[in-house]
């Protein structure tokens, strides 16, 4: 047997401080009421740092700092100069990529190969892309001289901590807004390192403010009367609450919410690549992906073969230490998320679906969940309807293209979808009919700064990425 020896990435490259304040007006400050919480390494349950909990006074201070920076500096700065700051940030991210990748894996639990090869490169690319827009807004298709909105309140999730920060901050700053961003409670560390990068880039004080905290901090931020724009990525339930909270206000709102994507495999699919796509679709980032291909719709005539291949492939997945360079599936981000995944999978089994996982040894400490598939799933099962946000795939079958479309669309969500077939005209026919903002044909989970991303229906509204992503931050 060929056993891979441990190949851990060194964590000595990161220097985690024992405690972190809030980043407001260009400096790290203590929260007004001194509250704090702990950020934990989900792979070991080790406490990584003590994090300041922003209260309403802190949020207010941050919004005022952002307002001042907007009015005095950033809002009136020529686009070409804003561009140069963003390019500078992009370069610093590249320079410090190893540090950011290790820190992301420590705080989030995702495999180092993903933070190193996917997250951090995309973060840098996103800043590069939007940096270039800052002095070209008049050519973006929103009129000759589109204006920024002002202060943007941004609340991001824990699944791609720094990448979601980039998706929010880069277009906001390029368009001339200033921001107050609240990172997720369980993954604040890379956002705080990003704050240091802003200092290193000499970004004017108050342009970027990072207020750490939990749900209450986020609620206070989006409800603050001093913000002009709210951008949120996270669960549909919270998105709904935010939509209610900003009702009747002048705040422009964009939401990037949950999903329950169908990954549709036809009998003429390039089967080996389809199996890779299924694996990547649901096990990438432990399935903590809003656009995860969590429902496999496989044509009945090839269902057995595809499942056999899928199981064989799943047996190769390496679950364990996120810092090991050979790890494919890392830790579940938090105890709460693990509980949610367990609850839904237990419901799946109780409702009669058949559960399967490859043999795999899970570490004793930390939060872990083996890659799992459920077969014999019907549309009525909870695991076919609710977002599990974990490494759990529900397998359904279909007989005809029309049935595949019908089942794929039979959900309140509409974020993404996958199609696997070698027949070009069928791809286009399907793509036309799938009610989803991103359709991956013969590929899955691909992201790019130039490519608009966002959902239909209850997956939210607005697009991030590309020219379209600017619209959320312009007064148009």
């Amino acid at each position: 047997m060929f056993e891979y020896a441990p190949a851990p990435e060194s964590r000595s490259v990161v220097d985690i401080k024992p405690s972190y304040g809030l980043f407001i007006d260009g400096a790290f400050v203590d929260p007004a009421d001194g509250g704090s919480f702990k950020s934990v390494n989900p792979a070991s349950e080790e406490v990584l740092a003590e994090i300041a909990e922003g209260g309403s006074q802190d949020v207010d201070r941050a919004v005022r700092a952002a307002r001042k920076a907007y009015e005095k500096v950033w809002g009136r700065m020529p686009g070409r100069d804003r561009a140069k700051y963003l390019f500078r940030i992009a370069r610093l991210i590249q320079e410090r990529s190893r540090e950011l990748a290790v820190l992301e894996s420590l705080d989030n639990g995702k495999p180092i190969k993903e933070s190193r090869d996917v997250d951090i490169p995309l973060v840098a690319a996103h800043f590069f892309y939007y940096a270039g827009w800052a002095d070209k807004l008049g050519h973006a298709g929103f009129g000759p001289d589109p204006k920024p909105l002002g202060v943007a309140a941004q609340v991001i999730p824990w699944n791609f901590p720094l990448l979601m920060l980039a998706w929010k901050i880069a277009p906001a700053l390029a368009a001339g807004n200033t921001v107050v961003l609240k990172p997720a409670e369980t993954t604040p560390l890379t956002a705080l390192l990003f704050a240091e990068i802003c200092q290193q880039a000499d970004l004017p004080a108050g342009v970027v403010n990072i207020v750490t905290g939990a749900g209450e901090t986020g609620r206070t931020l989006v409800e603050h009367p001093g913000v002009d724009k709210v951008a949120f990525t996270g669960s549909t339930d919270v998105g709904r609450a935010i939509a209610r909270a900003v009702a009747g206000s002048r705040k422009k709102l964009t939401l990037e919410l949950g999903g329950k994507a169908a990954n549709i495999v036809f009998d003429d699919a390039p089967v080996d690549q389809a199996v890779e796509g299924i694996v990547n679709g649901i096990f990438f980032n432990q399935g903590h992906v809003c656009c995860a291909g969590s429902r496999l719709l496989v044509q009945e005539s090839v269902a057995d073969q595809v499942l056999e291949s899928l199981k064989r492939r799943m047996a190769q997945l390496r679950v364990g230490d996120p810092l090991d360079k050979n790890t494919d599936i890392g830790a579940i981000n938090s105890a709460a998320q693990l509980a949610r995944i367990r609850e839904l999978t237990e419901a799946g089994a109780a409702e009669g679906a058949q559960r399967w996982s490859p043999p795999c040894e899970l570490p004793e400490r930390g939060f872990w969940f083996a890659p799992t598939i459920f077969t014999g799933v019907t549309q009525a099962h909870r695991i076919a309807r609710e977002e599990i946000f974990g490494p759990v795939l529900s397998v359904l079958t279909f007989r005809t293209p029309a049935e595949a479309v019908e089942k794929a669309n039979n959900t309140p969500y509409g974020l993404s979808a996958g199609i696997w077939t070698e027949k070009g005209s069928r791809i286009l026919w399907m793509a036309d009919r799938l009610r989803a903002g991103v359709v991956w044909a013969n590929t899955f989970n691909k992201f790019d700064p130039t490519s608009p991303f966002g959902g239909y229906k209850e997956s939210g509204y607005g697009r991030e990425g590309g020219r379209h992503g600017l619209e959320a931050y312009l007064n148009v």
Partner: protein
Amino acid sequence: MSERVAVRKTYKLFIGGKFPRSESGRSYIVQDSNVSLASRKDARDAVVAARAAVKGWAGAIAYNRGQILYRVAEMLEGRREQFVALDVPGAEVDAAVDRWVWYAGWSDKLSQVYGGANPVAGPYFNLSAPEPTGVVAVVAPEAPALLGLVSVIAPAIVGGNTVVVAASPAAPLAAVTLAEVLATSDLPGGVVNILTGRLPETVPALAAHMDVNAIDLTGVTDAELAAELEVKAAENLKRVLRPVAADHDWSADPGLGRMTALLETKTVWHPKGV
């Protein structure tokens, strides 16, 4: 010799291409005419009709949709005097006709202007194109009675959405007369549905309806009602167009905003290989 007794028009609702009375059997009087007073049930029926029409209308080729919108302009031009008789100024009718013509031309240009190829960093074909969001509830502005109405319906339907319009309670006659124009314009039944009556009765039902994808609150003048409708709309995350300012200039170039606010962007990826 007695004067000829005129045949009066009954102003009814416009649902699914037909002109039913309100199922509630109620009416109210505007400009000396009885107008149907739509109920929540009528609103629901209108949503069903609008949903049923989505597949055909969204799936129609853009050229076809453009021709139908242009046909609406032709029909409206021909009925100019009917609107003038309802106290719509002739210049407003002309502007409304021109607005149909303007939007008609957009049907097969939106995808080119609002979509396009994205140069992703990899061997992929990547294309973004706008698509209709589905069923849109529209609260028409009170004034100008015809131009305002046309200015909210045309941008919603040109991209392939279907609409349920709550006509201005103060100006329902122009709305029903416009429905007659639409009914004779090759527009498939259900693409535009028009409810007359009281906004507080029908609009909250539309705002809360889980099979409506977007709501245009343009004609809501009561800020509190607007906020309440927005809260209801949040339940299924409807796309929301907020009310316009009271002094909104309806004769100005409308721009793309009203169309794009009711469109989704779909991005399709495919590898490039041999």
